[in-house]
């Protein structure tokens, strides 16, 4: 355990009695109170706590909504409107839950990008990273299932598209098994509700494993250098708990601004139209946080050995699968992008690329961005959304499968600081990271 032997001593008879039977207090002390955390963690490192907060908010509001929601195709849409109009504070519960999903994903993207930037997936944190990818996958499944529940036009047709996609890969029998019928209908809604209620608790369980894996090896930090002694760390409480409370309050301000003043900012208007299986909406689009994967799916509009539909699904699934093997794709011995000048650029291009892909996934596929001519039917022709998505998909995969393995072999990293403490001291003195050969800095007060 990265914190070394336990520092807990029971203070009275009762706590001693309990400690011998179920060391709850010891566990809380070692993991939440005295856990030695690198003292140089910046705000990018607070998003784990923010994510936990988001999960609790979603679970609590979700349980409350489930007291009023009716998971039956004939009543689902109206039951959501009943919540919005008649249930006391129902509108608040619904808007918090609905926008909570978006903010959950905003936080998870910051958290994942932080991990990619600082090399937090590298040895010995590979399992930590993989558990994180599993949580990300569960989040996407949960969000998709939740979105189908109001049984709006977007719910119905989004469910249709995604279940048909899986069918392209796994066969019609599988799709009918998933649907519980011959199309997306009431049996589908009912089971999606059950699964939507279940998965967040699976996320909770995997999150506990995630934190356990983290605490077993200790936190990474912006220098990527392991703590060398107590001068490099502070106990979690009160140092980081104070920071978490502050950052959670700030996050909640942003969240409240959306919930109370722009609650439909992230949504689609078709989510307020009752689902009609006989009428396809003009424009089916996923929620913004799934946009990038949707863009990659649609980017494959050509056949290559396999049918374009199947190929598209494989590429989309591949985009998630590649995340699992990231710890083994990156060959660099240096963890943090702070000291990897070429990787730094590649990383930020990756972030912008991901944002562009997310945007592209929400647009109608045919939209032309730069017109080069006119097609046979008079419509504009040129560089369109699909082309943009293809470039974006290439870079997405290239970043993981080409850049990460090759850079580690050819990049010259910047000189690393001797330790966290020396890096912090150098920053305090107004310089950049002190070269390893510099004289040892005086210890900070412990």
């Amino acid at each position: 355990m990265a914190s070394g032997p336990s520092t807990y001593t029971p203070s009275n008879g009762l706590t001693r009695w309990l400690d011998q039977r179920l060391p709850l207090m010891r566990f809380a002390n070692d993991n939440l109170l005295s856990f030695p955390t690198p003292k140089n963690l910046n705000y990018a490192y607070t998003f784990g706590a923010i994510l936990f907060y988001c999960l609790i908010v979603q679970i609590v509001t979700g349980i409350v909504l489930a007291m009023h929601f009716v998971p039956n195709a004939a009543m689902a849409f109206n039951s959501v409107e009943y919540i919005m109009r008649d249930v006391n504070y129902g509108w608040l519960m619904r808007y918090v839950h609905m926008n909570g999903a978006s903010f959950f994903f905003i936080a998870v993207y910051v958290h994942i990008f932080r991990g990619l930037y600082y090399g937090s997936y590298k040895d010995p944190r590979e399992v930590l990273w993989i558990l994180g990818v599993i949580i990300f996958l569960l989040m996407m499944a949960t969000a998709f299932l939740g979105y189908t529940l109001p049984w709006s036009q977007m719910s119905l047709w989004g469910a249709n598209v995604i279940t048909n996609l899986l069918g392209a890969l796994l066969g019609q029998d599988f799709t009918q098994w998933l649907w519980g019928g011959f199309s997306v209908d009431n049996p589908t809604l009912q089971r999606f509700f059950s699964l939507h209620y279940l998965l967040p608790f699976v996320i909770l369980g995997v999150s506990v494993l995630h934190i356990w894996a983290l605490h077993h090896v200790g936190n990474n930090n912006p220098t990527g250098i392991d703590p060398k002694g107590p001068q490099d760390t502070v106990p979690l409480m009160p140092y980081y708990t104070a920071k978490y409370f502050f950052v959670i309050a700030l996050f909640t301000i942003a969240f409240a601004a959306v919930v109370f003043f722009a609650p439909n900012l992230f949504g689609h208007v078709d989510h307020y139209v009752e689902g009609n299986p006989l009428k396809t909406p003009a424009h089916i689009a996923p929620e913004w946080y799934l946009g990038a994967f949707y863009a990659m799916l649609r980017a494959i509009d050509f056949n290559f050995i396999l049918d374009s539909k199947v190929l598209g699904v494989l590429v989309m699934l591949g985009a998630i699968a590649v995340l699992f093997v990231v710890p083994w794709l990156d060959t660099s011995k240096v963890r943090s992008a702070r000291y990897r000048p070429v990787y730094w650029w590649c990383f930020w291009i990756f972030v912008v690329n991901y944002a562009v892909l997310s945007w592209a996934g929400l647009q109608p596929a045919g939209i032309v961005l730069f017109q080069t001519g006119v097609g046979a039917d008079g419509s504009p022709v040129g560089f369109n959304i699909t082309h943009l998505s293809q470039i974006g998909t290439l870079y997405y995969f290239g970043f993981f499968m080409v850049i990460m393995p090759l850079l580690g072999l050819f990049e010259t990293p910047r000189p690393l600081p001797a330790s966290i403490a020396t890096a912090v001291l150098a920053k305090k003195r107004g310089g950049s990271a002190v070269p390893a050969a510099a004289a040892a800095a005086p210890e900070t007060r412990v």
Partner: protein
Amino acid sequence: MRKYLIAVSVAAVCLLPALAAGTAKHPEPVDFSFKGPFGTYDRNQLKRGYQVYKEACSACHSLKLVAFRNLADPGGPEFTEAEAKALAAAVEVPTLDEYGDPATRTATLADHFPMPFANELAAKAANNGAVPPDLSLIAKGREGGADYVHALIGLGYAAIPDEHTVVPDGTYYNPYMAGGIIAMPQPISDDQVDYAEEGIPQTVDQYGKDVAAFLMWAAEPKMEARKQLGMGVIIFLSFLSVLLYLSYRRVWRNVDH
């Protein structure tokens, strides 16, 4: 330098030109009283809008998610309970008589606005094959929201199509409708609805604005409560954030980080 370039490219991505969303004309924004973080509904406008809905729209369009008691709720048109009861009493809703046969009775506050047609098939048959949509959520269920409703009703029917546009029999031209063709004939004309209130023009444009505001309330009756609570929440959280920030700085006072 690097951070500047990043910021610029992210901003450029965000400012990608708004691409044409289908072929509908973008509705002109209306200066509704309920827009913005401090916006509230104009009670009189909502009352006028109700009147327009009742006299010009309710024959074909249902408003099934709204109940008569909502007309007296705070944050809406705020009719008195007696006025709302009277508005309800003017309407018949389906029931069964003592032999179990379909009959009607006068509506009460608890009843929702009635459906003008028995079912969807009847609605289709009476309207050239097109079902008049329920209007309870129309202001949230269409691009452009209340602006769209105003433009469609108040401005669109006056537009003349160019010579290339084909308007099939039984349909009408309205540039604010996706595709330019709408199955609904012009639903209202100047002076059709008599406002009791002084000084309000009785034009199609005004009717469009009033009914759009009413339908916005029908779609989002809790808007005022939402904004009020939001203001309080954000002020409180800002104050709390300051306290928590100061606490954070105090905790870390003696540690280099």
